[in-house]
């Protein structure tokens, strides 16, 4: 007979769940982080997400070597089940960004610097600059689906991934995270390349390549035609990605994609994530989505009798 129904300890004496978590040596007060590209372009906005939003950590907008205006408007629209964007990696460039990072670092929460480039060498330069600026970790954007030469173009090839991660690891002492795209037949394989090259954590997923055509007009709505979809529509793909990655690597996984509630976060954590990032959720629930999600995680754990996040990480894999 089967006896898997009640996996929960249900011990009523645990009163308040511990939702602190450490990832690659970085300590978070709660397992929610701001995802890259959402309001993370200025120091003030990053600070606000921490102080008013309640994020356990923040990831900056992806920063490149040079200033970049990104794709033209329309570059972001609401769809029924998610957001469609083709920002095109607009950013002020690494030189101008130093002062923003300095402002963000006034908080106590970890600040993770997202960077993008088209070669391992440039990634290394950016990472070193971010380390100098004081970032607690770097997140390599290997997964933007709508900026040619960058992102997915490299992130879908395990050799390029391990080359880039390896070079960055050689250049900095701070932890190196790699953010992956689900638009590959086997994401576990790519995650393994990250781990083997010394990467400290895997972040998954970035947006899924998508598009909206307006029938009334007969044209794509996004100026760049093709963009990426985020939000509730991609959560099932994100959960799957984290679950598959967790079957392949031992380094921590950070789950992203469609988290708007504590139960969404729990689903990622049960799939194997140590923490989650929230992007579109800021739109759906306001900038205090981090606080709300943390609260809901605690409530769930208390109700189920879980003492700490460690008790549920990857539980759905057993």
């Amino acid at each position: 007979m089967v006896e898997t129904f009640n996996r929960f300890p249900q011990s009523p004496d645990v009163l308040m769940a511990d939702i602190k978590i450490e990832i690659a040596g970085i300590r978070l007060e709660n397992p929610t982080m701001l995802a890259s590209g959402i309001l993370g372009q200025t120091g003030q906005s990053l600070l606000r997400i921490i102080h008013e939003g309640g994020a356990g950590a923040v990831v900056t907008k992806s920063i490149g070597l040079e200033p970049r205006t990104g794709h033209g408007n329309p570059c972001a629209i609401e769809l029924k089940n998610g957001l469609l964007n083709a920002m095109g990696l607009p950013n002020p460039g690494i030189d101008a960004f130093g002062s923003e990072l300095k402002i963000a670092l006034k908080s106590n929460a970890p600040v993770i610097a997202s960077i993008f480039a088209d070669t391992g060498e440039k990634f290394s330069t950016l990472a070193s600059r971010m380390e100098e600026h004081g970032a607690h970790a770097v997140e390599l954007n290997l997964s933007c689906p709508h900026a040619e030469k960058y992102g997915l173009d490299m992130g879908s090839d395990p050799l390029k991934v391990s080359d880039i991660v390896g070079q960055v690891k050689d250049s900095v002492k701070i932890p190196v995270f790699a953010k992956l795209s689900p638009m590959v037949p086997d994401i576990g394989h790519i995650a393994l390349a990250v781990q083997e090259a010394g990467g400290d954590a895997v972040v998954a997923i970035n947006t899924i390549k998508a598009m909206r055509i307006e029938p009334e007009i007969g044209m794509p709505v996004l100026k760049n035609n093709v963009g990426g979809i985020s939000g509730p529509a991609i959560k099932p793909a994100g959960i799957r990605a984290v679950y598959e990655i967790a079957g392949k690597v031992d380094i921590p996984i950070i789950g992203v994609g469609g988290v708007t509630t504590g139960l969404d976060a729990i689903e990622y954590i049960m799939a194997g994530a140590s923490a989650v990032q929230i992007g579109s959720g800021v739109h759906y629930r306001g900038i205090d989505v981090f606080q709300k999600v943390s609260q809901e995680i605690s409530e769930f754990m208390d109700r189920k009798g879980y003492a700490s996040l460690q008790d549920i990480i990857g539980i759905a894999r057993d």
Binding site: Q44, P67, N73, P74, M87, M219
Partner: protein
């Protein structure tokens, strides 16, 4: 995104047109929309009517809007933003250039609610003055032009200053060039003031961070900010950000 048909295109001056469209959405005075001109661009525009915008032709997208004809189609996202808080009884409205477009519906609402309003309208030159007749129907109108071709010769803030001296309003609403609004905030001193800001907008609904001003997003936390909030923004009246996010001085 909703596609709407243009119902009317009205010349307000040489360079300014009001475009009306079939759009049954509810909105509040001070809110704006993102206007998609297919194949061209998508830009923020204050609602000057519940179903219309008033557009100064300054570049490619605004020119394209001017070229729209009855029956043309555009896409609309919104209404977005917070809009004005219309509590108070004795209002002074200060509109510079197309800034009066953002104030026009507020003036109408206030007048309908029987509140006292004085409206100061400024422009470079007489032919650029916007909504003078529309505003005269609602309250006391005062005018300034940079070249003196109509009303006070000089800044509209000078007119506003006098009006405040004559009688203190209990709320000031301002929209126009940011340096103008910065002086308005100064001369308001302790009188409550709300200013409607403009920043480079990409998403329009609070996720991309392109319109950041201080810790606020103009598209979602604003575009209307209180004097107190403006005081917290180190960039207000000083610099804005270009579309890469780099700071640019006014």
């Amino acid at each position: 995104m909703q596609v709407v048909d243009i119902t009317d295109s009205i010349n307000e001056s040489d360079n300014i047109k009001t475009i009306k469209f079939k759009w049954p959405a509810e909105s509040k005075p001070g809110q704006f929309i993102m206007v998609w001109i297919p194949g061209v661009d998508e830009i923020p525009m204050s609602l000057s009517y519940s179903d219309g915008i008033t557009v100064d032709s300054v570049g490619e997208a605004t020119q394209a809007i001017h070229a729209l004809e009855k029956g043309s189609q555009i896409g609309i996202k919104g209404p977005y933003g917070n809009g004005f808080d219309l509590s108070g009884n004795d209002f002074l409205l200060i509109g510079g250039g197309t800034g009066i477009a953002a104030l026009a519906m507020a003036a109408e609402n206030l007048s309908q609610a029987g509140k006292k309003i004085r409206i100061a309208i400024g422009a470079r030159t007489a032919s650029d003055l916007l909504f003078v007749e529309r505003m005269k129907a609602l309250g006391e109108v005062h005018i300034a032009t940079d070249d003196g071709s109509s009303g006070h010769h000089g800044f509209i803030t000078q007119v506003a200053e006098k009006l405040i001296t004559v009688k203190k309003p209990d709320m000031i609403l301002a929209c126009g060039p940011e340096p103008m609004m910065a002086s308005a905030v100064k001369l308001a001193h302790k009188i409550p003031i709300q200013c409607s800001l403009e920043r480079h907008m990409k998403c329009g609904f609070g996720i991309c961070g392109s319109c950041q001003c201080g810790k606020f997003t103009v598209c979602k936390d604003g575009p209307v900010f209180s004097g107190e909030q403006l005081g917290q923004m180190e960039d207000f009246g000083k610099w804005k950000r270009d579309s890469s996010g780099k700071s640019v001085w006014f």
